[in-house]
Symmetry: C2
Subunit: 124 residues, 2 copies
């Protein structure tokens, strides 16, 4: 059971992009390969790729969910305020030792850095 060309286009779009993509970005990218690709197909594929463990969902405040390859090292994200693109940041600063109020138990954390990506910083 080979994979359909749309799924393949979707996976390739995600691998090509060096950053987490939103469903909209995925359609746009993957339509280079499959022009009539529908958004519903993208959502279906994203969901199953997440289930398979091939993709990881990245949630950001006020933004549609982004998707990136799963299995990377612990890392965080950069959100450009200008172009709204999300980028991956290498590693986790200082491995984050937050003092919690007593009784609280942490099991994970997220860091989002906001600003301008290289392209947007340049074009002021």
């Amino acid at each position: 059971m080979g994979e359909t060309k749309q799924r393949q286009a979707i996976r390739e779009a995600l691998e090509r992009a060096a950053r987490p993509l939103s469903p909209q970005e995925v359609v746009a990218e993957a339509q280079a390969d499959v022009p009539r690709l529908g958004i519903a197909t993208v959502y279906r594929a994203l969901k199953s790729l997440v289930d398979e463990g091939w993709l990881a969902a990245v949630e950001l405040p006020g933004q549609p969910t982004r998707y990136e390859r799963a299995g990377k090292h612990h890392h965080h994200h950069f959100q450009c305020r200008r172009c709204d693109r999300t980028y991956e940041l290498p590693g986790c600063p200082s491995d984050l030792q937050v003092p919690l109020p007593k009784g609280f138990v942490a099991d994970d954390h997220e860091v989002v850095v906001y600003g301008r990506c290289a392209a947007c910083a340049r074009s002021k």
Copy 2:
């Protein structure tokens, strides 16, 4: 022109709570003072309190916006996975020195710690 009793109830609910509240939480709390308080009034009040600089909006992935008193020191938040309440965490760990890709410019950052709050950790 004094402030209406509903606005007052809303402000008091937010001061009373030692943590950021969602609009829903605000209605629930403030209805202790004004039983027929409507959600629309809460949204209106929250917006204008933010405009006045009295409140700050706290955005979290996949959660409705929370509101807290503005003007606090730089700090971050804890999100309980069990009761969904958001708590304030004191200070910013290590003042966050994230290495950015070259050309990127940061102007802010957010840290969200996930886990269980004291009450929820206890009741397993």
